[in-house]
Symmetry: D2
Subunit: 335 residues, 4 copies
Amino acid sequence: MSDLRIAVLGAGVMGADHVARITARISGARVSVVNDYLTEKAQQLAASIPGCRAVADPLEAVADVQVDAVLLASPGPAHDKQLLACLEHRKPVLCEKPLTTDVASALEIVRREAELGAPLIQVGFMRRFDHEYAALKAHIDGGGLGQPLVMHCVHRNPAVPPSFDSSMVVRDSLVHEVDVTRFLFGEEIASIQIVRPSPNPLAPQGLQDPQIAIMKTVSGRHVDVELFVTTGVAYEVRTEVVGERGSAMIGLDVGLVRTSAPGTWGGTIAPGFRERFGQAYDTEVQRWVDAVRSGVNVDGPTAWDGYAATAVCEAGVRALDSGDVVPVELARRDG
Amino acid sequence: MSDLRIAVLGAGVMGADHVARITARISGARVSVVNDYLTEKAQQLAASIPGCRAVADPLEAVADVQVDAVLLASPGPAHDKQLLACLEHRKPVLCEKPLTTDVASALEIVRREAELGAPLIQVGFMRRFDHEYAALKAHIDGGGLGQPLVMHCVHRNPAVPPSFDSSMVVRDSLVHEVDVTRFLFGEEIASIQIVRPSPNPLAPQGLQDPQIAIMKTVSGRHVDVELFVTTGVAYEVRTEVVGERGSAMIGLDVGLVRTSAPGTWGGTIAPGFRERFGQAYDTEVQRWVDAVRSGVNVDGPTAWDGYAATAVCEAGVRALDSGDVVPVELARRDG
Amino acid sequence: MSDLRIAVLGAGVMGADHVARITARISGARVSVVNDYLTEKAQQLAASIPGCRAVADPLEAVADVQVDAVLLASPGPAHDKQLLACLEHRKPVLCEKPLTTDVASALEIVRREAELGAPLIQVGFMRRFDHEYAALKAHIDGGGLGQPLVMHCVHRNPAVPPSFDSSMVVRDSLVHEVDVTRFLFGEEIASIQIVRPSPNPLAPQGLQDPQIAIMKTVSGRHVDVELFVTTGVAYEVRTEVVGERGSAMIGLDVGLVRTSAPGTWGGTIAPGFRERFGQAYDTEVQRWVDAVRSGVNVDGPTAWDGYAATAVCEAGVRALDSGDVVPVELARRDG
Amino acid sequence: MSDLRIAVLGAGVMGADHVARITARISGARVSVVNDYLTEKAQQLAASIPGCRAVADPLEAVADVQVDAVLLASPGPAHDKQLLACLEHRKPVLCEKPLTTDVASALEIVRREAELGAPLIQVGFMRRFDHEYAALKAHIDGGGLGQPLVMHCVHRNPAVPPSFDSSMVVRDSLVHEVDVTRFLFGEEIASIQIVRPSPNPLAPQGLQDPQIAIMKTVSGRHVDVELFVTTGVAYEVRTEVVGERGSAMIGLDVGLVRTSAPGTWGGTIAPGFRERFGQAYDTEVQRWVDAVRSGVNVDGPTAWDGYAATAVCEAGVRALDSGDVVPVELARRDG
């Protein structure tokens, strides 16, 4: 079977990472086309990959007959049109989060895909492919905790770009725990509240950091998430689920080597998302490639998962502003 | 110097533990008098200790000239009168929590002691004497975290007596994290909210368990506490403080021995408060005895600490009922 | 660039694993030929891989013009001839350990390859590609321990096949710690002693298990290895290096999820070498494929490393029999 | 019951620690007499303890009718005479290791005590009272490991006094693992070998450090001990027992607080024996005091345990010199 020819839209950090990944570590696929609104960036990237060319227009890249599938790593606002093009041309697409930047367009995508009768869209919530999250999911589903009741999450970044504002903490960081909640508990989130502690003195002026998100699922389970994106420490992502017969925790990073030095012991912590979730991205993309080559097209979070996450984050941004508990309104799943 | 002669009021679980502790492991003190409203219980206990006698009336025990100090382990509603008797007779007293069962009487105790000009009352928040909490406090005070911003607590009991109701989760369990917050952060708590997740199916009918307490300090720091008293697992007390330059955690119980057995590894967790906080109680009582013998009388949490904890818990019970964020009203400290 | 066409010799456990790996997870390579002395086995395996065929004669497989490189997973006694064929046909080869089964033939392979002027042979000591071993090596080389002085290793298997005898503990298990020692310390092993404790009552009659290997390097560093292959527990591989300024440990397996259950906490341990070293094998093969495609041919342990390991193990078997400290005799490296 | 009046012989580090311990933390005992060959030192120490006096002659201190029991913390060479005096005057004695400095005199002590018909001597192997060692012993005795087969020990000190020589590593450091072996396995040690790796460049000239001790018990169990007394790191004492059905480890020190700081995580390690074994000493002395007051006199390692340890260490020193496996010769226990 010949290699899957992938168009990567977006040559930023995520896009370039995916291009390198597919080229160096993924079996059965290659990057045939890259696109970016910065044409030169795309050309440079394309030039570094044998058999790859830059295409200036993303919709043209999608339509290209020598493109079998699309990996969408463009900025969020571009997703809507590009996803519609993928649907139109029946191209399987792995779409980095968010699905789209607002609930209405996300729902529209869900509906348009549903009309086609078979799924084409997978959303890039890579944590579902992380060995630790997968093992936690298996432990829960295997009944090791009995009924899960409560989840505590910690999501810490050492630093964020200057442009990162308070609502992006919700949309870009919390969105992962939103998906983790839905993945692990297998149900929708019903409401969200955001607590605003006194901010970190080292955070940029105007950035509410840390934030504490408090979510309740439709069956009444409680989830709290510490979001802290200017810790200066490391990339720390921890999740603990507490059930009626025990608890389970992942992400208490112990590093690769346990060292002793004068007076102290310990290890290093993953400095960034690449070190923490590199394996998850690799597994995600390999399984997606396999799914597309086998005709299944999707092996992971769906357009609905992307829509639901967007809806929760939109409520979250309102909760951040108001301080209130904000209900999450979702369309009927079959609607 | 001759041994401190202590009257232990209350011969229940805590009282009997203290009698055994003072008799077997504390230097410079002995139990000379025990009292309980169940006279026979006190007599049996007294008979087991050389040189100890049972006294039927607690106030008489306090007044006894052969009693140098009082350890108060009677039921909460009896504290008020017994503490006043201690103040009247100028007897140093180590009072198990709560100071008293309502804010007004607690404040009255604070005021009556203040009129004496020198402290006599220490409140039995033993966690301050736990090696781990003490090391955490030292780490914070030493600047290891920079400015502390957020605290996460877990407080899990394997089981509670049948009489344990939803408000007792606040008054008897959360009260420790209330004191821990005030101890570690060195400031008062300004408000409290209690989230009620779907209850543990294994909890007794009518007991809201787990509960999630969310507190804010006067400077705006955030504290969340998972209270879960029917886990069936073990006694787990964990505290993590997150600051501007790092975080610190205690209570991730790893047990005494790390074992490997077919397919698994791990250890045992402390089954109850005696195993978890036995050292803390020993240190607390030894230091209190030393303080009394040296004339200082108090070396630990004061009557004010007991009053403030009662005030927070009273607000907490209202928050549990209403679901609202309830402010904590405290008297002026010098009032 | 077209995919590297690999002939896999040997369709046993290791060979089949490698075929699956290359097919499913390795970029830039495919299995074009498989061979096994059990012809039917090879045919079945070949039939499951698109574009792959079975070849009955291993030397013919090596010579095949449609084979770019060879992965040698045949039984040890077959290695000698197959490696010579690879050298003759200038085919890069990744040879599972052992290089050959005796010192003389191993040295002959080293010499024959040297005559070619460029390396073709890589030996499959996969631990060098394990993230933990690589990080430990980096920590040592970065000076984190100062001068390394002592190494402690634990090598435990839950079970071994009925045919596994006492000398195979040395040749098949210890051989990995032999290479680890040479890799981490960057020097040869000078002597070896094997201590025989009272055997595990649960081990098969006649199998000396556990064994304790004690090695000294040419500069005088001490290495001890607990070899215990019938633990019934899990696959545990642990290494601690102690240096003049600290120590470092890897392999204290904590599993993926930390769980609490009534009275206990812990996790699961890797049940076998696939779970423990799956990532190492993937990285090893991907890097070897990359090296071959780039014309470098070898990116890892060399034929010399294979020869030296065989020499140490041969001394180890003599030490097992005699109970003495047996010196390791190596040819001159440039000889 | 009145307090046990203890004479502490030796006012060095250990003696002064014991005086402080008994005075501040032990119930039912007080130090009534102190003695040291440096008279002034003893006088200063005595002056700091209410009701305590210095006595110039140790044998007079033992004989003093106002002394109920003796704690022997004098230098090893003084033990012989002082123990005989304790036996003569029927004074219970807690003797810091070593029992005596040579095998013959140690055996003589054992015999003289046996003639008295009831034990008076306890030897200060405090590790038996450490919570971790006690839990490990209980785990083994409870059958958690099946038959124990192998033990690995690590014994690291950050530094030693300038006078510490190679044989003291055996006599003063290894002696603890000798007792631990006998305690955990419940049998005698049959032989000992000492491996001498290239020494730590940071160790004083002439000090063989590290040393690796290899012991075999009479039933054939294997024990290895890394002795490393100039690590510069911390006080690290680790023991792992491997049995037919699993393994168990203690002493993997994780400190009191788990901290995260930029790029790293970890904790502090006990800097010295006081931090590591303070609880063990407290428990040892409290239980000894309780045993003496109850008339049992000994609750822990006996004179025989002291004799056997001395015998193993004497063989160990010969093994250190010769490099050979040296058998341990013990008298018949009933001899």
